[in-house]
Symmetry: C2
Subunit: 431 residues, 2 copies
């Protein structure tokens, strides 16, 4: 018997129903775009965006959501809480599905994504970066501590640190090669101050906090997932030579804080429900998470199944109109800690998360060497250059290189969804 694989909801916008659509009706990620000198919120559907500001003006949205939908950023909507998020998602789904009574009004609020300038859709008060892929931690450890690659704390505690929120930019913003101090070539030598020679990307997933917690009040792991509004891709640009010189004893600083790129679309967690999976099983000898990091529900379906990919477009691929070159493929199932574990840990000491905060996973690398989510691993800190299909050789990124992060969720019987692409091109250092 042929299996019925038609999605449960079809849109009146045919392109959204194509199996190749990134943004089917079941996705509806949030973004922002420039229109008539203003920044409007929107959702993506097919190859179009639906202007939420215009929908509010056309009385297509519940009155209690209008104010938040006419804001220039998502923060007001997030602050309304999960019931409002569900209500808006339901309203937008109804507006865009095949049987929608208000189709004409909604059509007037559609714009082509290709013709739009997408903007940063959210104010990010605080940015935390974790280190949640054990494969990444192990391979990076092997480079710098061959005898002791994985530190004793790793399997007990989700390692994280605070990143720089002010320099987070949206996909498409060029990234200037940063200048900084590098380790002297001799122990008594003077450091160089020069453009980084080892500019790297890091493939990460960003979790956006929608529900805050008051200072002093931890979020128990059983409630943690409810605090997540959605996710996007994130590129944590890193200057490895600066990082190696500056990071002891207090961690990365200028090696990271010159820029971090997020994708323009924030996928609501609700759209990822079909793609929730059990927490990645741990080897039997690994310690069980401490009670504050453990819940049966989180173990049963607290993981995410997002396939990830890093691509590189170079001067030669562009000139010859070749597709970008795949550098690696990995998955959020390569993470050692679930999103809920990251949140429970972050707040276990009473630290307060704010609406719009990002918790990023850290570089998502798989167990295979080819699945490493950064060049530090792929080229062993530059010691093993890689040769691209174009014949070009890379240890780290060259000026003009464009890095593209992609993420997708696929499951039989469900429309595929693709996270918004996260891309940026490297500009030469400031002269």
């Amino acid at each position: 018997m042929a299996k019925q694989t038609l999605p449960p909801h079809q849109s009146w916008l045919p392109e959204a129903n194509a199996p190749t659509a990134d943004f089917p009706l079941t996705h509806l990620p949030y973004g922002a775009f420039a229109t008539e000198g203003q920044q409007h919120l929107c959702v993506a559907i097919g190859s179009h965006l639906l202007d939420l500001h215009a929908c509010a003006e056309a009385d297509l949205l519940p009155s209690e959501l209008k104010f938040a939908c006419q804001s220039s950023t998502l923060n007001a909507l997030l602050a309304l809480g999960p019931i409002a998020w569900t209500q808006l998602r339901h309203t937008l789904t109804t507006l865009l599905e095949a049987s929608a009574p208000n189709r004409e009004k909604a059509e007037a609020a559609l714009h082509s994504i290709a013709g739009a300038t997408l903007l940063k859709p959210i104010d990010i008060p605080n940015y935390t970066d974790f280190y949640a892929s054990i494969h990444h931690a192990t391979r990076v450890g092997q480079l710098f501590r061959p005898d002791n690659p994985l530190l004793p704390n790793y399997k007990h505690i989700p390692i994280g640190y605070h990143g720089r929120a002010s320099s987070i930019v949206v996909s498409g913003t060029p990234i200037q090669r940063p200048t900084g101090q590098t380790r002297p070539s001799t122990p008594d030598g003077t450091p160089d101050f020069q453009p980084t020679r080892s500019l790297d990307y890091e493939l990460e997933l960003a979790l956006y906090i929608g529900q805050p917690n008051p200072l002093g009040t931890p979020i128990p792991i059983s409630h943690a997932a409810h605090h997540i509004f959605g996710v996007s891709l994130l590129n944590d640009w890193s200057a490895r030579d600066l990082q190696s010189w500056e990071s002891q004893p207090l961690g990365p600083f200028l090696a990271k804080n010159f820029a971090t790129t997020i994708s323009p679309w924030i996928t609501p967690l609700a759209a990822l429900e079909p793609f929730r999976v059990p927490a990645t099983p741990r080897p039997p000898d690994d310690p069980k998470p401490l009670p504050y990091l453990y819940s049966t529900a989180d173990q049963a379906h607290g993981g995410l199944d997002v396939k990830l990919e890093v691509l590189l477009a170079t001067h030669i691929t562009r000139t010859n109109k070749l597709p970008p070159i795949v550098l690696s493929q990995s998955s959020t199932q390569d993470l050692y800690w679930t999103p809920a574990q990251l949140i429970a840990h972050h707040t276990s000491n009473g630290c307060n998360l704010a609406v719009g905060d990002i918790l990023a996973t850290g570089t998502i690398s798989g167990s295979a060497e080819a699945s490493a989510g950064c060049l530090l691993e792929l080229t062993r800190n530059g010691a093993q250059p890689i040769t691209l299909a174009t014949g070009e050789v890379r240890t780290f990124l060259a000026d003009g290189d464009e890095i593209i992060l992609r993420g997708s969720c696929e499951l039989p019987g469900h429309p595929r969804i693709c996270l918004g692409e996260c891309r940026a091109t490297i500009l030469p250092a400031r002269s």
Copy 2:
């Protein structure tokens, strides 16, 4: 011949002219207080505060500054830039000096500080913590790396990391003892998850950024001081047992981000002009700062001379009405890097600073052991408990302990100024 030591400006408020006044007319630090359910900005004068919102309503302020002075935080005023800061300071000085024509109107806007609830006067978008006292870095290094206390990068690069902005609270807010993971007692053991047993304070100075820089545009050291609006004291609470377990390889995280306390008054840099001093001389064998960290003007008067003190009030001192016990005394001249060097370094890779950002110095410890600005140093990580004048013994802080940070500037011929006290009491861990 008797030296004329009368200050150049006398206020019509006699208490402000007393040599013991913390807040003479030459100081005028900015704060905020609660009044009729609102938060108003104010400046301190003598033992009073002057309500800036009320001054604006009474037409005592230039019209172009009214809006910013009626805001609930200082951010709008800071965003107006240095000319506006100077204009407001001049206006307020004129309003409060002995010959003021509008004395009666200003008097109506005065409130006793003792009777007021002081609030956090500024939104702090980003918080960076440096490690700028070489004495602190050396003694902490001796505890954990006796053979190699000061790392090779220290004398070349102002070491810093990103702290947590969301958990910064104003002086007077109680601090709850945080709970967290601590190192297992055996290498194969399970970590404990318990209230910290080594809760510590850190004596620091906070620099408040008044002028932002765009992403990608470094602030040259020659302009760096102009980006500082003012300073306050800062206590970077630290849970040493959590820190020791979590900090490798990415630096402190939950050991610090449960709370940071700032004093309620922000002293404008203009008030500190008489107390600018040459950069602290370095031993002749130390490397000269790299060019981006060096300017002759900064070397000539880029330092600050603020005397600092940490005091402890305990259950016994309070019960017996004894004064708090002095734990240590140090000075901002104990710093290896100037404020301008911290700013020039932070932005050297193009990182953007925002209005209201804090750059903190890190623990300010002097060369003498008794001048150490935290208990980690004073008790050698708890190995050498200290006995207080009350007979009480401390390795780290006990519940009920109150830490008080003080700072003052003195110079013959100038009224002494005292930074606002930064105090907080430790509450037991959440049960």
